[in-house]
């Protein structure tokens, strides 16, 4: 009891008159108003990370991740935030990168086991459910902490078409046709909502550039990947030339942004 009280007094001194000082120490405790604070804190970790966006287009899925460059010494292309889970599935992450990497390994094992047992590609909804169940398990016990990352899974195949799912630290998976995670997610979602269904990749660039400016951070590197009819169902990083073209278009569009909102491709 004594250590708990001293923890309480510390928080008081920090002028954070929060009422949850006893109930936020482990994921196995509910607060009196029915919240699990550890899970909410995990989601805060995601909100502090730079933005990742996924858009489900008519014929494919596109991911864009804003990688903030914290040091000039970083090698270009290191610390990837987009992973290949299976040939046909890609994952874009936001939050604690180490947690995200561990989950990408878990997803890969799930996809691989499925293929080994049943002889075909894992359907994305099933993969999202399985990984979400795994993430949820870590929100049940005091011996472990929840994962501090959200991620977006995307795939394309001829029969089911493009699919997009997002999983957050609480362990729920949602299907989307466009979603954003990370610090500028609200601004990004607003931009995405303006899009029509059936759009192509260039808009992802505009979104990232728009929300990036609004965030007012310094230099960033854009990681862009796609999976769709154009890649024959394989998840790949967008080729350099197409990416550069899109970046150029995005920068130009931003400069013209003041003129009109009627930019339709």
């Amino acid at each position: 009891v004594l250590p708990l009280l001293s923890h309480c007094s510390l928080t008081m001194i920090a002028v954070q008159m929060k009422s949850h000082c006893e109930y936020d120490l482990s994921a196995s405790t509910f607060s009196p108003d029915g919240r699990v604070f550890q899970v909410e804190y995990a989601m805060k970790a995601v909100e502090n990370s730079s933005t990742a966006i996924g858009i489900r287009c008519k014929d494919g899925v596109v991911f864009g991740v804003e990688k903030l460059i914290l040091s000039k010494l970083y090698e270009q292309g290191s610390n990837k935030r987009i992973f290949n889970i299976d040939r046909h599935v890609g994952m874009a992450v936001a939050g604690l990168l180490a947690d995200a990497r561990s989950l990408s390994e878990v997803s890969r094992e799930e996809a691989s086991n499925f293929r080994s047992n049943y002889g075909h590609d894992i359907p994305l909804k099933h993969l999202a459910d399985r990984v979400a169940m795994y993430v949820h398990a870590y929100t049940l016990y005091s011996a472990v902490r929840p994962f501090g990352c959200s991620f977006i899974l995307g795939s394309y195949d001829e029969d089911d078409g493009p699919q997009l799912y997002m999983v957050d630290p609480s362990g729920i998976s949602y299907g989307y046709w466009g979603c954003a995670i990370g610090k500028a997610k609200q601004a990004a979602k607003t931009e995405i909502e303006k899009l029509q269904v059936g759009v192509n990749i260039l808009y992802i660039h505009i979104d990232i550039y728009i929300v990036h400016d609004e965030v007012k951070d310094k230099a960033f590197e854009l990681e862009l990947s796609w999976v769709g009819e154009v890649t024959k169902g394989r998840h790949e990083l967008v080729p350099k030339d197409i990416k550069e073209e899109a970046e150029k278009y995005a920068k130009e569009s931003l400069e013209e942004e003041d003129d009109s909102d009627e930019d339709n491709m």
């Binding site: 047992n117 049943y118 002889g119 075909h120 359907p123 909804k125 099933h126 029969d159």
Partner: protein, 233 residues
Amino acid sequence: MATMLQKFPSSVSTLNDYNALYPDWTQREVSTGTTIMAVEFDGGVVMGADSRTTTGAYIANRVTDKLTPIHERIFCCRSGSAADTQAIADAVTYQLGFHSIELDEAPLVQTAASLFRDMCYRYREELMAGIIVAGWDRRRGGQVYTVPVGGMMTRQPVSVGGSGSSYIYGFVDSNYKPAMSKEECLKFTAEALTLAMERDGSSGGVVRLAVISEQGVERQVILGNQLPKFSTV
């Protein structure tokens, strides 16, 4: 499989005739001697089998149903050891049902065939099972996959199996045409099975047929006196 009884060759003369103590059938396994067959057509599959189960020379069941449902639109034809194939079919039915509920959609025929293959290959030393998996799914329509003894798996437009199949390879190869209609496939299957049943001692009884398509499963039986007649028969 075989019992552990020691069998003496008849050339060895013994004071006590041990072989006479234990009838032959106690040392024979129950086998679906069999002729089985499946054909793909545009929109589904036709499956057929004879109905004889033997224990040595004794016909244990003359009206066997060798066309076993694995899921709503996926069936399998069983040949080889009756016990082995029933056990495998039960296990795969369970696994496929679980998988289908997890995915919340109808399972693929290829998935069922993969599950059969995994089991038949993993336990190939202990099993004697030749299985033909056939059915309909919304992705690839009617499909036939064959999983012979040893545990290989391959898709074929038409597949025959069982001890009686040896006698009808010529008939099947010369009479099969791609893009046959459902009625043509039924006639083709019934004729092939009849010819095999006439020549193979381990096949006989009635011809059981099943047609699987998007609409569901239609089953029929052709009794002995209704089988197609051939001139030498």
